[in-house]
């Protein structure tokens, strides 16, 4: 089913066509995925890229973000490893580089959640599987560990009017971006963002937890999983995801198969209630790795 792009989506398509023609079909591909995908993109653009300058900046950020990922993915086909890099080095190079985060990384990441089919599918899984399970409990407090753009917190606040969300990130730029994102949707009264390292200061008990594509950024993902499991009270659920075979500027822990993630979840003491996995695209040749996502609802 194809739906006509909304005005800001049409403006983004025109911006790509003029300045980054490699991505000129991206918006049409969202439209061909159906009304929900089109509406979600338009909603994000209308609230966060209402003027043309913001739209051009987001398009440029996305182009740089996507092209960097594509170059790394191509190298990964012949050298399937991530560069050896510590978390501290990555933080210095990426998360604490406010200009890079604000201009390229965060706008690129946000648009990728709408423009990449496997990212859209993961968000749909979150909105269905996780929101359904948490709706059946009394708890309306949520903690998001690793806010990034704030998209998952925003969707949570939109979908559940009684939810209160606290989000952590170690990046000042991410905290600022997420705050502005959620303010643009008029949801700030139920949202608090903190500059906080969840490994050093794990969340307290009582909240449902959301941790989207954080594990692959860590040297020791099982340490965070253990901390999250300790923080998760009975009758509460966690939504935990990771990227696999997905080289990026800040990915340092390489997951090759969902079974590796599941083994770590179980070793931390979680029970898997629901699971999702999706590839970014078919392999160019049989046997070549492709980036993918794995997501879990656990308790």
């Amino acid at each position: 089913m194809t739906s006509a792009p909304g005005p800001r989506s049409a403006a983004l398509a025109a911006c790509f066509a003029q300045h980054h023609p490699l991505f000129k079909h991206s918006v049409a591909q969202v439209a061909s995925a159906g009304d929900e995908a089109s509406v979600a993109l338009e909603e994000t653009l209308a609230h966060l890229c209402g003027d043309d300058e913001a739209l051009r900046a987001a398009a440029a950020g996305y182009a740089a973000f996507a092209l960097d990922a594509m170059r790394r993915e191509r190298r990964f086909e012949t050298d399937p490893s991530y560069p050896v890099k510590s978390f501290a080095e990555t933080a210095d190079d990426v998360y604490l580089d406010e200009a890079f985060m604000a201009r390229t990384y965060l706008p690129g990441l946000l648009l990728s959640h709408h423009l990449w089919a496997h990212q859209r599918a993961q968000l749909a899984f979150f909105e269905q599987a996780f929101m359904r399970r948490t709706a059946a409990t009394a708890g309306s407090a949520f903690v998001e560990v690793g806010l990034g753009t704030g998209l998952y917190s925003r969707r949570l606040l939109q979908l559940r009017p009684d939810a209160r969300v606290t989000g952590y990130d170690i990046s000042p730029a991410a905290v600022a971006f997420a705050r502005a994102h959620i303010a643009a949707f008029g949801l700030s009264d139920r949202f608090r963002a903190e500059l906080r390292d969840a490994l050093a200061e794990p969340p307290g008990p009582g909240a449902h937890l959301v941790c989207v594509e954080v594990l692959e950024h860590l040297e020791d993902p099982p340490a965070l999983l253990t901390a999250l499991r300790v923080a998760l009270a009975p009758q509460r659920f966690a939504f935990i995801t990771t990227a696999l075979n997905a080289p990026n500027v800040d990915h340092i822990y390489l997951y090759r198969r969902p079974s590796e993630v599941e083994a770590q979840l179980m070793a931390a003491g979680f029970t898997v209630d629901d699971a999702f996995a999706a590839d970014a695209y078919p392999p160019r040749r049989p046997g070549l790795p492709v980036p993918s996502l794995a997501a879990y609802v656990v308790h």
């Binding site: 023609p21 490699l22 079909h25 991206s26 182009a63 960097d68 594509m70 695209y281």
Partner: protein
Amino acid sequence: MSGPEIPERVRGVLSTVFDVPAHTIDDDASMDTVAGWDSLQQLTVVLAIEEEFGIALTDDEVTTMVTFPLIVAVVSDHLAA
């Protein structure tokens, strides 16, 4: 390198990448006319062009050179520099 060599070598690269006869890559060939030329295959085109001509393409060039004449123009600029 003489000017006329560049278009034919670019044509040869595209012919190899997309596995089609060189004569089907006409002077108006682009992402819109060549089957399989999408954003993922663009990286294959870029790497093949870089190898063929011994040049390194910038991000801006990679995201804009999505037609045969634009690739020829970008390569010509690099080789003239």
